[in-house]
Symmetry: D2
Subunit: 386 residues, 4 copies
């Protein structure tokens, strides 16, 4: 496996997370930056693709060149200014591998055509670079929640709907997921969008013998919640309320200022809390778009809890994160791990990757420590499976 | 085991932690309060003494009756006002079991005499109440650090020094520990004082076949640090500095306003951080006496860390705890667990109780999640040993 | 003036703010508590009614006796437990002076009748206690915003509408205000409800020669904003965003969990910010109902600002207030000051009381320091006017 | 006045504050940055030197060129990267005007010689650039507190001590101040060092007919304290404790990690609090050197206060400032205002500039609002005096 090249295909390839991943990979390969934030670097004794063996490409709807995006990231504190010049050649290479993504507004004809076009892009990419396999990671803008329709229940019924030129049954994220699976690529949902999380697509993944994982990268407030909540339960302290406010700027802030889209995010953020605390608590939660924060995200949480004899106490924290700096190394980690899982013959959902996600598919375990231990032992077992 | 009565002997019996434990035990036995904060209640399938089977007594230097101390706790938010009346009889019982502690200033003669007097108090208590065993827990005021002298190295050399009327070789906490072991009682150090942590006393514990554990109850800032630090390492994020300020009032605040005594505490608080983070970081730490806070403790921590491509981020938290409400249920837990360990024939240091302590004796593991898992599996193994 | 007795009539007489004011006045009169939080105590050289000269009464819709309400306040940290017993007689006196308030659901007939009934209660109260004058303060639950109708524009048109049995043109707060003015009482709006803030009622106040003031007591987040915002402008620093979250329990928390009612509050809270900062800024603001907080209110604000050469900085604060402990002394202050203003012959809106309010009627000045200076000089001028 | 050129002479010319001022002035003159943070821009109707009329020079002990210092500031977030190139010529001009400062270790001979050398540098600078007057601003590293000796009491006794080659009676800051006054330049102390604050130097300032002001620029925690404390007093709330921790990196952080030097700072920071609150309160205060913060300063303050009926409440804030971005525009403001004061014939201490300082010389008023009002009315009166 270590000698084989793999592809990392980013849906939302020109967004902040994707651009940070692309710039960071270039810097890692040039030895210009340490792999801070990459958890796979800590997995000793696990064979994973080397940084040099990863080729990037992707889909997006916009065409701003990476150089310009990288300058923006530098101003936002995501990329040291001195790295800009040395990575320019790598950014130009990446520019050459970005194709037009799917959008319902511009597409004509049955959705099946869109799926096939995206899948063809993936196959071309794999062929052109002689890649052993390709990992597709969705880092496109968060979509609004999608109503469940009967067509999602089986691959057969989905296929029929996709062929109907009068319908657009799948949201864009699921079109991307479907194309990935069809092209024999593994798929990761780093967003809270629907993506691969449909019975029909699970069926497809198993049929195609490709693994998938998700959902919604866990990088800020939720990360802390999954670390802190077990402390309260392990110490038998009773959480009474857990209130939160998130301030964010950037593209994600703008997207989430649309209440419909924020709904996806809020749901995936708060679902876990009840599970962590063993029952529901008062938990008001807000996401506010504060453009001046740029790529920064500030989360304030206030936890009110009760101790012995009803004593009232509280914990509050403020997290000031640069979201893409937290997300991008995880995207690279997921590329490595999914490539290895695929090589090891794993198909369908990979619950052991729950460590990375707010809303882990296939495993209802939100506790960070359990997820962390599981990730390590699963990764160590991969070699044996091959 | 469940049918046998055990003793809980508190050194510092009239302090805030001890009084909260005494009041709380009375309330638990009367069914007037739930066991919030008691981790042993969550240990399913482990046989431990019932609340009804625990009798309390202790040593202190002051004689304020429990009723008065309880009123103070109620004003401080540690005890609901409506619980005061129903527990008065239990408090009077407890008053009857408090004896004069040891203090170097008032003691005359060789320290050996002090040790014997304290041990005799323990034996009388055990006999009087027909107790299967007694657990001594040190919750007295924190002492200044003690210089290491050669006499600490072996039981033999310690014995000689104890017999010398011209010396006071042991600090009060170690006099108490020595007395406990001599009297065949298990011993727990809930403070950062020297206590049992001397080679000579370890020898004595093994000789007497009694278990001991410590040191310094982990209830606030350090608890959070041992929960949060693993998140940074598991996510490969680089902590650059971890600064902390603790504001506390109460008896503990007054004691720790003495820089010599604070030294013990600061050491036991910060020792763990380097171990948790895999190396030293800038970590200024303060303890301030702020009398108006009463029994409240407020800790503010600021963590500065680096992510991918050198991105700079931070986490800060403010913890507002009622220290004794966090400590007292753990003291009750430790009484139960040590009684069970003693019954199971365990002798010497019990590293598996590191979950409770800032400075765990016998195990250099500070990560909360590992400690928590270890505690559970150890407790479950106890029954089998008997 | 100092020898004359005055009445304080509370609309919402059994709410938290009102009960705290009633208990506090009893404690002040008995010399059992210092006047902390009463700004009139700092106004040297101004003749105001003595605490002994104030008699309380009011309207409410509920009938829970004050003793019970006081016990609740004690549990919530608003009243020391030891004060409960000594003030019982005063609380019983107060109970005897509470009358049924007006509510649209239970009222029958033209609103005019309701106004007359409430006014009659006021007159009876004034006569019974031989009061020189009565100050009516509205501390009832916040109402939803009310659409402006043409009838509000003049006293004449309002009168016609009030006589119409088929209409309920005024919200309850304005019915109370109208009754107060009709009965020759001064009126203060401590809530963001409509109350007296209608042209028709301004006309009535001038006709009746009584003063009025408002609106919405400034006790927490807004207080801080009006103190901090001038710092940024006086230092020529550019505020980019000012985000806020308020967590509150209690009756007020429950009321404001109704988005319609919260709208009034949010408007009166945020209106001032743009005025303070000389223009609009991004300012997301939330009010969350967190019942476990009881009477506590926790506000977190995050201010992002720019300095020289575009440097990005921030200020965040967390305010943990007991709202009624901040509001009640101001209600007593307002009773004294309005009585003095009335005695001095002032009629209509009193802009100089803006210091007390989030949404100061009659003066568009939100800066705390200017309001504070104005209050002092206005109060000092009162004696001269008489 | 507006047509005349003035000099700004920075003691500590290559430090962060000074370099930010030099870069910022260049950017202002080139129209590349708005004057955010410059309070003189808000003083309408006051004649002050234009940015184009200010020439900079200074003393320092190090010789790192400004271009290099500016690059450091850009990395630290104090200067936008795109400003670096356009200001290079101005930075080279400034480099040419920096002379060697005085340091006791390298100086030989009576201190008088040092004073004369520094004064000569100032005279040369004034002559070379044909300046109407020069304002000397001390922004050098903070010195440890200096014991008061009898020689400080009068100019005569100071002169004798300065002539004695066996003594070094004045700290470096006072040598600089003395030289400034001797050369007929006004002097501002932006640091907590002794500087001009000696009776002998006050005498000299009056004799030379030059104004002076100080001490210790108010830019962070203290600024907030002087804004917030009056809120508590104006609202009759009783502050019980005000605890603070300051985390800082940069040159200033390194200097203040020396407890002797921090002592100056802590004193000037805390002196004001008692004065603001009308008496002493518990007020633990720390300054920690946290190098990774770079030019950032983070201050956390916790205020515990009491309201009506003893209710306990708190306010905490976290200030994240870029100190030099706050200080530099004030240094430019002070240059303008002192030049105007000098032109208006003002001599000796200028108390009306207290607005700028933690430890205002000549006026024991720490309340921000009063200082702000006084500054404005004083500045407006200047034209009339000329
Ligand atoms: N820490 C994190 O940053 C983090 C954590 C969890 C989840 N996420 C999710 O990752 C996603 C990306 O975040 P971001 O900050 O990079 O956002 P962004 O707005 O900067 O980038 C999103 C990109 O997706 C593109 N896009 C939108 N619709 C598309 C489509 N149909 N096909 C292809 N491209 C499309 C956009 O043009 C844009 O370039 C978001 O959904 C966010 O919620 C991020
Ligand atoms: N969460 C917590 O409360 C917590 C956590 C960790 C450690 N601790 C430690 O627990 C101890 C007790 O804390 P507290 O808040 O109850 O303090 P406290 O000051 O209220 O009580 C200490 C008691 O010890 C008594 N004492 C002092 N010297 C003694 C001696 N030689 N023999 C017998 N009694 C003696 C004192 O008279 C006092 O009654 C402290 O050392 C504290 O550092 C507490
Ligand atoms: N610091 C503060 O507490 C503060 C600050 C500003 C404004 N306020 C406002 O003061 C008001 C009172 O706050 P609270 O915490 O005491 O609330 P609360 O819910 O405890 O009390 C409100 C009382 O008003 C009564 N009421 C409701 N409608 C009425 C009517 N039509 N006539 C007579 N009584 C009526 C209710 O029965 C209740 O007893 C609220 O509107 C609140 O927004 C409070
Ligand atoms: N907001 C603020 O930045 C702020 C606020 C108040 C006070 N201050 C004070 O301003 C001063 C400067 O702060 P900074 O951050 O620029 O510090 P810095 O360490 O970056 O710069 C200090 C400079 O002074 C020079 N210096 C030291 N001794 C000298 C001497 N005898 N003669 C000439 N130069 C000398 C040093 O070489 C250095 O270049 C400090 O004393 C600081 O306490 C700063
Ligand atoms: Na954990
Ligand atoms: Na002010």
């Amino acid at each position: 496996m270590t000698s084989q090249r793999v592809g990392l295909w980013l849906v939302g390839a020109r967004g902040s997370v994707a651009t940070t991943a692309v710039c960071g990979l270039a810097a890692l390969r040039a030895g210009l930056a340490p792999p801070t934030g990459c958890v796979t670097e800590r997995l000793e004794g696990v064979s994973l693709p080397a940084w040099d063996d990863i080729v990037v490409g992707g889909h997006d709807l916009v065409s701003t060149p990476y150089e310009k995006r990288a300058e923006h990231l530098a101003r936002a504190g995501l990329l040291p200014h001195h790295l800009l010049a040395p990575i320019v050649p790598a950014l130009r290479d990446a520019d050459a591998e970005v194709r037009d993504g799917y959008h319902p507004t511009t597409h004509r004809g049955p959705q099946e055509l869109a799926v096939r076009r995206l899948a063809a892009d993936l196959e071309t990419f794999r062929f052109k670079h002689d890649l052993a396999r390709v990992v597709v990671v969705n880092v496109a803008s968060t979509e609004p929640p999608v109503p469940v329709v009967p067509e999602f229940a089986s691959l057969e019924s989905l296929r029929a709907a996709l062929a109907d030129p009068a319908r657009a049954v799948l949201p864009a994220s699921s079109v991307a997921a479907c194309a990935a699976l069809l092209a024999g690529c593994s798929y990761v949902d780093f967003t809270p969008s629907t993506g691969v999380a449909l019975p029909a697509l699970d069926e497809l993944a198993l049929a195609q013998r490709v693994p998938y994982a998700g959902r919604d990268g866990k990088t800020g407030e939720t990360l802390l919640r999954t670390v802190l909540a077990p402390m309260f339960t392990d110490r038998a302290l009773k959480v009474l309320s857990w209130s939160g406010t998130n301030l964010l700027g950037g593209g994600d802030g703008a997207t989430l200022s649309d209440p419909a889209r924020a709904a996806s995010k809020l749901r995936s953020k708060s679902d876990g809390l009840a599970s962590l605390l063993g029952g529901p608590v008062t938990a008001p939660l807000h996401i506010d778009n504060v453009p001046d924060l740029g790529e920064q995200k500030i989360a304030w949480d206030h936890v009110s809890f009760e101790g012995f004899l009803g004593a009232r106490m509280s914990l509050q924290f403020t997290w000031t994160g640069l979201d893409s700096a937290l997300a991008a190394p995880l995207v690279l980690d997921l590329a490595r791990l999914m490539a290895a899982a695929h090589a090891a013959g794993i198909a369908g959902v990979v619950p052991e990757l729950g460590f990375f996600f707010k809303d882990p598919l296939g495993w209802d375990e939100h506790r960070f420590d359990r997820q962390s231990a599981e990730l390590v032992s699963w990764a160590r077992s991969l070699d044996g499976r091959r």
